[in-house]
Symmetry: C2
Subunit: 712 residues, 2 copies
């Protein structure tokens, strides 16, 4: 030790005096809180003694009031703090989700709650840390107090200082869309390739990036020394969605909230808690997928009677329109339409309308025959002729069917066959309009027996100037979920904010899009690793309505669309397991499934609710193999998916009951299968299996496999 080090040690001592440490139940994760010079809140995090987050600042910058110049006290919540109180505690509870990957979920953490006081302002805040075996969450809490009742957030400055130039699996930070392909670069490369990545998306009407080093959460990282790290948030309620902005000089990510139309970020009334800022960590990639930290950091279910909430397998009048063979609209007579004025009964049908009585009946028949629960119908209601890109306020009323969609008769026909229709509410981003019609729209659903709605927010928002992920819009999505719950309606929200585990509290939120879904396979395609990336990132916050199951992967074989699906047919089957969701679509056309009925048997068989899930193999953007046990039954289903590289999955049947025999059906890529050259080549084999058997399955380039293991 030289003199300089002695001096530093002396200087550091006041800081160390206030340091508080909290450790995960298994001892692997350690989080330390301290006040740095100037009373600045700081934390750091290690995993098995390796740095995960180096000392990083915490705090919030506030908007100054209009009246600040008149002597009102105005300050930030950034520094000048003293520790007023610290409390540590432990928590261990097992809860039962309404639906999920496992029958029960253990919520086991150690907690540190630090109350800080800012003497200059007489304001107190609390920072709460919860440390789990595979990560931690921290949040800010603002108790009600005389000197802190209302404030406006200019920016939250929660930092995540990384210990190295990790590999990042990232998409551009954007206030309005999440529908990007993941980039895989060193953190230091993000800023260098950002423009090139973004220029492919800039044509979208609703895309708003904010920084060339800005990325979205959940952000997956991998360190050179083998740590998997994931940064996200949990329980984002009445708060703007968080992005991360990288300082490449210090390898530090910092929170960057979504602003409102005026550039301000959050309007807070105390008492209030921010969302949790989460960091997952493990040296085994599979823990990234099985860890339930995001759900655990959300509040328990607030819906008392959940009997009406159910996992759902469905097909729909949808893919035909996405591919371009059919239209959502009913007529081409008018350059624009006005609801309540345009008389659809008098105009000429365009002949391409998808949601006709005949077509919907065909889908109902198909669903009934194949055990699918529901039929989604898009384009059933007036207004699709000019719904997009015009910032049109009164774009849909959500209650008036087109002349060729007999809502009463079709629902009755579906119910007579044991099937339900699934409602579709596209808002075109006109939130003001949707809220005006929400109650009537839900009443219509109740009247005709719909119990699930797919909502959509395509395009620029109204109120104009608001972004898809601002506080007010997040408040809107939550408003819809809560109003829907009153009507016993399940919600599957597309283009809404990425989920943050809110489905624990509101399990009628059965799905979200909030990422690049299967539709992009008809818009030029997605990289083959996309679906072995999404479970590490987008799915951290909740299930995605990815709409898998496209068997006719070459769209040009039946339409004028030149795109092709970037997986094999078996790769499509694997997604029903790899991409967990209680809502699973069989997205292709009935006539396509009929051509491959033996493979379709897997979709008939696979459930979408589970008692248990075992991630057998996983590496971000490379492969995922998962086994899941059917809810209330002894059947298992296994799925594996690879990226553009062929590989051999190894499925060890350790999870089966000892001494029991199972009938295993394996749907796998044929030897010569290839997502580009020979996507529909598959083989189906059956054998009897038992615990301890090991099955090796070759996955083609862009391929995968599916397996049903039925207890005998």
């Amino acid at each position: 030790m030289n003199y300089r080090n002695i001096l530093l040690a002396l200087l550091a001592s006041p800081l160390m005096a206030t340091a508080q440490t909290v450790t995960s139940p298994d001892g692997n994760v350690v989080v330390k809180f301290s006040l740095a010079d100037g009373g600045k809140p700081t934390y750091e995090m290690t995993y098995k003694a390796k740095d995960v987050v180096k000392p990083s600042g915490l705090g919030l910058e506030l908007v100054k009031s209009k009246h600040a110049s008149k002597g009102m006290k105005e300050t930030d919540l950034m520094d000048g703090f003293k520790v007023k109180d610290t409390k540590t505690s432990s928590f261990d509870e097992t809860w039962t989700p309404v639906w999920g990957e496992t029958r029960t979920i253990r919520n086991n953490y150690n907690e540190l709650a630090v109350t800080l006081t800012q003497p200059a302002t007489k304001r107190d805040i609390l920072i709460r840390f919860r440390v789990y075996d595979y990560g931690m969450g921290l949040r800010y809490e603002f108790p009600q107090q005389n000197e802190l009742n209302y404030f406006i957030i200019k920016e939250e400055h929660t930092q995540f200082a990384m210990a190295g130039d990790h590999t990042a699996y990232w998409i551009p930070g954007d206030y309005d869309t999440q529908e990007y392909e993941y980039q895989i670069t060193k953190m230091s490369e993000i800023g260098k390739v950002f423009d090139k990545v973004y220029e492919r998306y800039a044509d979208n009407s609703s895309t708003t990036t904010f920084s060339k080093t800005g990325v979205q959460t959940s952000l997956q990282l991998k360190s050179a020394d083998g740590l998997y790290i994931n940064i996200h948030e949990a329980a984002c309620l009445n708060y703007p969605t968080m992005h991360l902005n990288l300082d490449p000089q210090t390898m530090t990510f910092e929170s960057w909230l979504t602003p409102d139309a005026t550039g301000k970020k959050g309007y807070i009334q105390t008492p209030f808690n921010t969302p949790w800022r989460t960091v997952l960590v493990s040296d085994d990639a599979r823990d990234m997928l099985s860890c339930k930290l995001t759900l655990n950091l959300n509040e328990p279910c607030k819906i008392e009677d959940t009997s009406w909430i159910h996992p759902t397998k469905y097909c729909g009048v949808w893919w035909n329109m996405i591919v371009g063979a059919k239209s959502w609209s009913y007529t081409n007579d008018y350059p624009s339409v006005k609801l309540g004025i345009t008389d659809y009964a008098k105009c000429k049908p365009n002949g391409t309308h998808g949601a006709t009585n005949a077509e919907v009946r065909r889908y109902i028949d198909f669903a009934a025959k194949n055990g699918l629960d529901q039929v989604l119908v898009e384009g059933w209601n007036e207004g699709w002729e000019d719904w997009f890109g015009h910032q049109k306020l009164d774009v849909f009323d959500f209650v008036t069917p087109y002349p060729d969609f007999d809502i009463k008769a079709l629902n009755e026909y579906a119910h007579s066959k044991g099937v339900k229709l699934m409602m579709h509410h596209e808002t075109s981003g006109s939130v003001i309009n949707y809220e005006r019609h929400l109650e009537d729209a839900f009443k219509l659903m109740n009247k005709y027996g719909y119990d699930a709605v797919k909502t959509g927010y395509v395009g620029d928002m109204i109120p104009r100037g608001e972004y898809h992920y601002s506080q007010l819009m997040n408040n809107h999505y939550q408003h819809v979920i809560e109003e829907a719950a009153k009507h016993h309606i399940m919600v599957n929200a597309h283009e809404a904010t990425r989920p943050t585990g809110i489905c624990r509290t509101w399990p009628n939120l059965v799905g979200n899009e909030s990422a690049r879904g299967t539709e992009y396979e008809a818009f030029g395609g997605s990289v083959p690793y996309h679906t072995v990336m999404l479970p590490f990132t987008r799915l951290q916050g909740g299930p995605m309505d990815y709409t898998p199951g496209i068997f006719e992967t070459q769209l040009s074989s039946w339409s004028e669309n030149k795109s092709f699906v970037h997986t094999t047919l078996c790769g499509q089957l694997s997604l029903y397991l790899v991409m967990y969701s209680p809502l699973q679509m069989a997205a292709d056309l009935p006539e396509h499934y009929e051509k491959y009925d033996d493979a379709f048997q897997f979709i008939r068989d696979v459930p979408c609710d589970w008692d248990d899930s075992k991630y057998l193999e996983a590496e971000p953007a490379q492969y995922i193999t998962v086994a899941r046990k059917e809810k209330g039954k002894d059947n298992w289903f296994v799925g594996g998916k690879t990226n553009a590289d062929a590989r051999t999955a190894v499925v060890k049947l350790d999870f089966l009951d000892k001494g029991r025999k199972y009938e295993c059906t394996l749907y796998k890529d044929a030897e010569n299968a290839d997502y580009e050259k020979n996507p529909k080549a598959y083989t189906i084999t059956r054998r009897t299996v038992k615990k301890g058997d090991v099955i090796k399955v070759k996955e083609a380039r862009g391929g995968g496999f599916a397996m049903s293991i039925m207890a005998k």
Copy 2:
């Protein structure tokens, strides 16, 4: 003529070739339309051959699309036009308003409709002129067409080039408030005194001026040669409110629309018509008050059954709070409250809450005893503890009464006495929140028998960044009116956009504030000429809920408020006639009226619906004397009001039936009355009168008189 003039004449000839002229039915008003150089639409207007509007440009500037750079056609609707078609027509119809100043209204105009085409873009627009005996209206019409379906307005450039440096009676142009005192200056002085005028208001949380020569409409002007000119708009529906910005170099006012949160001004889908831009003109100030041009330019009534709409005289639990003696809030226990979480049953009442059961019963008794129809109650519902200034989204739910307001019992008690309660919905500017609760709030009103609501929009708007008078907010106010009509509810909207005659189409809009009301007499006072200014300006668009009738003009005599009302007691009485409204409040406290019961007899007697109205004397900001005939009866009521100068009104009883005798009761200022020194000195005299009698009445400084003339 020299050569230069010959040349100019030659150049001008193509312009002259396209000029079109339309004249008022009486021939006094002439409007000429022409295309100036470059195909720019231009108009001019004369009255009795005097210039009213010199050649002035018309047109709209459009926002360029995001995709403009990619070859999409982008152009303004400013010039490059050719005349495609012109049509002239005449119209003469008499219609019957649901309520009003007269039993019937004649709508008699000559019309010129010019269809313009812009060859470069293949776009057509139409400019329609309607010319009346006392003015004209013009508007832009956009037919549905292939090349013009949707567009965004950057600015409307409708010009009003004045013929001189007129005297202007103006208030600052402001996107958020109209609650200013009128300034009286030469037009050329507006910019010079603007800052000094504005600084008195800049403390308001919601005030947004945009130009130091920006003023509001309706703008009253007076020319040196004795013309009264008034610029306003009619039928502002789904469009932003228009302000006027003066170019002092050319004495030209130009339209300046209220922007949205993104700075854009209007989102238009064709077919669409803008509001009418109106110019009233006469050489007799009384014509400014009697002219019904604004109403006539609105569409006929759209409510089929109007039987539930009725003029209303009311008192209310209100003035006590405005003065500061009582509070809207129920408790002082908390620095802030949250609806549904704060338990009001458990907190300590503050002892100052106005809307208690006992107090409301006292007002009901007072109303019943004195023939008042309704009792307004403000502060009846949870949320008033922190309702203002916090941009709080969930500020009120409009359905939950405070513990000391028994909504069921109080309504039953009122109904048992033949009185109704009047509902109050203060939104605190949180429009998103109000729309979420609107249906439940109206259902509650229907349940308990309310049929009128006073709405309020105090403070900054939510959606944040929107202004009080933007297109989206104007759309909201209209949404509330139309939803209220479905529930048979009358609306009296405060802090909403200034009216533009929409009450013809939606007569359940029985009142607006939209100007500086009586409440300011408790906030430091208003200039004595304020109420002889408002009928020339604010009232052009529709009635104002001015809430007159303050008898205890010295507030310090019964409260700690140091303000005083800037009229005499008789001046207050005169307002029931001078400020026409179907909704009239007796705003003072019952105990104050009891002290002056002989004067209160006039408020008991005066109706608020009329068969006829005669403006006997008028000069802006100086005096107004008006006689009105009670609806369905042969009684007349006369009111006169002066400014800070004493004067003698001359009331010629020409309007009485010949040969009939009437009992006339005159409420007039005492000889020594004075609004500052002796405001409550009055005399009441009775005499029999007949047609042809002339009554001279002395009005004190800040005073006035009222007269009932009952047929014997």
